[in-house]
């Protein structure tokens, strides 16, 4: 027990020290701290999606919609946009301790609204419909500048205030600036170390991530968590045991969504600018990949997946940018245009991502750092002689019914659910 706390504590200390180290390394510097900040946001997203996919087994491919909701809420309540659109009297300046819970609540509500119509749908249908919902949210954000300019359409909302605390009013006239008692956008020093705004944000995000991890852990081991897992393993049996399928599913969507909403509002303050371009289908798939590649249902796996998948692309890009001129200069038998097509950093990055997805799903579907149970589930039939002799039909039946093959012995008699 003490050992775990000690390990956890050391880990947290390492993460706190990380930005200072990165800042100081000459090759890396503040832009990499910025990347770490974004990585924290993705960890938060991955934790939220982990609740939906990992605990409850509901395939949500439109998760980024909640991120968008949280981001736009913060943007609207902390920027001059509403006053420019004529919808509010002054520049909005709502306090952070109100906006973040509001974002969580609003996203949670959206999650429940999303979940309600799709309760009866099976896995694959659920995937497509949630994907559709994600796109619907994005397109609405892109077009809600008429008849009333709510989101400013494709131009996005800019001049979003950084996270700050002030004693002032909740809105102020344009031209005035509020006096912020404390803002993340300031520099200060701690024990002789220079703490820049980027580091401030990172530390704040780290704090929220730690809170989210604790919450996830508590959820996992709670009654609700167990109910989710029961639902994931076998819906019919769960219902037979007296669980209210509808409520549990809605709760999963809702709780997962709240993480997304909080992450979104933090994102808006960090980037200072939100536009529908940041909430595409590819982002949803990225977060999905983080959860799946890391290990569905396993908090440590999910955190690892998020960190890796948000930092890797940057590393990759630097690598390609470094390699590209060397190759371009030395490989002369292939034409410039062809080489440029092949050595394009973003294309290569996505290609590597796709290959990683395929390889992991093919050979290690339980993810990089899964819970032991999950690994056993997915590789159980590797050691099971009976599964092999009966051809694959027995376990095929079991998995067709959506059940894990570790219980193949109990379910062989029933071909259908």
């Amino acid at each position: 027990m003490n050992n775990t706390y000690l390990k956890f504590g050391l880990l947290i200390l390492a993460f706190i020290a990380l930005p200072f180290i990165v800042n100081a390394v000459p090759y890396l510097g503040p832009s990499w701290v910025r990347i770490l900040g974004f990585a924290m946001l993705y960890v938060l997203l991955a934790l939220g999606l982990n609740i939906v996919i990992g605990y409850a087994g509901l395939l949500d491919m439109g998760y980024i919609g909640f991120y968008a909701v949280g981001a736009y809420l913060y943007a609207l309540l902390s920027s001059p946009h509403l006053s420019m659109a004529g919808l509010a009297a002054g520049v909005m300046n709502w306090p952070i301790w109100l906006i973040i819970p509001m974002a969580a609540a609003l996203a949670g509500l959206c999650g429940v609204l999303l979940g309600a119509p799709v309760l009866k749908l099976r896995g694959d249908y659920l995937a497509i419909v949630t994907l559709g919902f994600g796109e619907i949210i994005r397109i609405f954000m892109n077009n809600l500048d008429q008849p009333v300019n709510v989101t400013n359409g494709p131009q996005g909302i800019s001049s979003i205030a950084p996270i700050h605390i002030d004693a002032g009013a909740w809105s102020y006239a344009a031209g005035e600036a509020p006096h912020a008692l404390f803002s993340l956008h300031s520099k200060w020093s701690l024990f002789g170390l220079q703490v820049t705004p980027v580091i401030n944000y990172y530390l704040f995000f780290l704090l929220i991530v730690i809170f989210a991890i604790v919450m996830s852990k508590r959820l996992e081991n709670s009654r609700i968590g167990r109910a989710w897992m029961a639902l994931r393993e076998d819906e019919v049996a769960a219902e037979a045991m007296g669980l209210n399928k509808r409520n549990i599913k809605l709760l999963a969507f809702g709780m997962g969504a709240t993480f997304g909403g909080v992450s979104g509002s933090l994102f808006a303050s960090y980037q200072g600018f939100v536009s529908p371009e940041s909430f595409t289908l590819m982002e949803s798939i990225m977060v999905l990949a983080m959860v799946v590649l890391g290990g569905m249902g396993s908090i440590r796996g999910v955190v690892l997946g998020a960190l890796v998948l948000s930092v890797m692309p940057e590393l990759f890009r630097d690598l390609v940018n470094w390699v590209q001129p060397v190759i371009m200069d030395n490989v002369t038998f292939i034409s410039r245009d062809v080489l440029r097509n092949i050595l394009d950093a973003s294309t290569l990055r996505m290609l590597a991502f796709g290959i990683a997805l395929v390889l992991v799903m093919r050979f290690r579907p339980e993810g990089l750092w899964p819970s032991g149970r999950r690994r056993a589930e997915l590789h159980d039939k590797d050691d099971d002689p009976e599964a092999k002799t009966l051809g694959s039909s027995a376990s095929a039946e079991a998995s067709k019914a959506g059940r894990s093959t570790s219980t193949v012995h109990f379910h062989r008699g029933e071909a259908k659910a």
């Binding site: 497509i128 077009n143 569905m296 290569l348 579907p365 039909s393």
Partner: protein
């Protein structure tokens, strides 16, 4: 925005011409929708056949369609560069090559990716399919670049007046060919031995195997047919709009899959009907939605009409319009 142009004096003739004009517009939108829908239907068939037989959304099918289009363009450009004359035969020749490549691609996917994962829980092959889709998209970008590739002018396009609307000869051909292909597919599935085997496998894989059907061969055949249909659809799309690019497969695939679900997954007629219906809905909605909702929803929402319709239909009829045709799965 009500048109305020110069109108003839109000009389019976005016009323008649106004109504006729409106009808012509409607007919045009409908025909546009049918052309769009034919392409969706062909792609939807690929999705529905694979889903019907192994319960998998072949996410990468849209990319196969894209590859069909891009390969055809490349081959055509090459052939015409060699001096082959423009014309239908050249197009068919290029199309054949593209078909073969797409079929090889689908076969590869099936053998190396999907077959080993047939027993895995649902999520795994789905994500693998997403991965394959991403690989194909980016590989296409590496081969053909990120820009749009223009479809070479092999066929002369001239407009045709049809029931008061203007179509091109190509569009008309697309509709006709789609119908022919769909009919052919129906004959294949309903009347031939292969079709019977496919239906049996879709109903119950285990028992079909016991009856002596080579499951793997049948599943491969399904993928191959789907890929062939997809490549034809890709070429149709490319020729209709005059261009193709590496991104075109994704959205097309999503919409076509929605169409397949709309009609009832696993059900061939459902896919055909769903595809055509979706095309019509998109066209009519893009044309009239602005007027109907007084500017609130307009043609900018065109892409999500597909999803909105899908959600509505699934709410009311979870098995799609024409009902599912699959083995009972939990």
């Amino acid at each position: 925005m009500v048109p305020v142009g110069v109108l003839p004096a109000r009389d019976a003739l005016y009323e008649e011409t106004l109504v006729e004009a409106q009808l012509n517009v409607l007919m045009q939108q409908i025909l546009n929708g049918l052309v769009l829908g034919s392409i969706y239907a062909l792609v939807a068939l690929g999705y529905t056949m694979v889903y019907g037989i192994i319960g998998l959304i072949n996410f990468a099918h849209g990319e196969v369609v894209m590859v069909g289009a891009m390969v055809t363009i490349s081959v055509l450009t090459m052939l015409m560069g060699f001096g082959m004359s423009a014309g239908v035969l050249t197009l068919l020749f290029a199309l054949m090559i593209a078909c073969v490549i797409c079929m090889l691609l689908a076969q590869g996917m099936e053998k190396f990716a999907y077959r080993p994962l047939r027993k895995a829980p649902r999520l795994t092959p789905l994500i693998l399919a997403i991965g394959i889709s991403i690989i194909l998209q980016n590989a296409a970008m590496m081969i053909w670049g990120r820009g749009y590739k223009t479809f070479p002018e092999v066929i002369e396009i001239h407009p045709v007046n049809f029931l008061g609307a203007t179509l091109t000869n190509v569009q008309l051909s697309i509709m006709v060919i789609s119908v022919v292909i769909m009919f052919g597919l129906w004959v294949l599935v309903d009347k031939t031995k292969l079709g019977k085997a496919m239906r049996a496998t879709a109903q119950n894989q285990e028992v079909a195997g016991l009856m002596g059907i080579n499951i793997n061969r049948i599943i491969s055949a399904t993928f191959l047919i789907g890929a062939a249909l997809g490549s034809i659809a890709g070429v149709m799309r490319a020729i209709n709009y005059g261009q193709a690019d590496a991104y075109m497969g994704l959205l097309l695939g999503l919409k076509a899959f929605s169409a397949a679900v709309l009609g009832g997954i696993g059900n061939l007629f459902g896919a055909m009907a769903g595809g055509i219906l979706l095309g019509l809905i998109e066209s009519l909605a893009a044309g009239y939605m602005g007027q109907v909702t007084d500017g609130f929803l307009g043609s900018n929402y065109q892409d999500i009409f597909a999803f909105m319709v899908l959600v509505l239909v699934l709410l009311v009829r979870p098995n799609g319009l024409m009902g599912e045709r699959m083995a009972d799965r939990a």
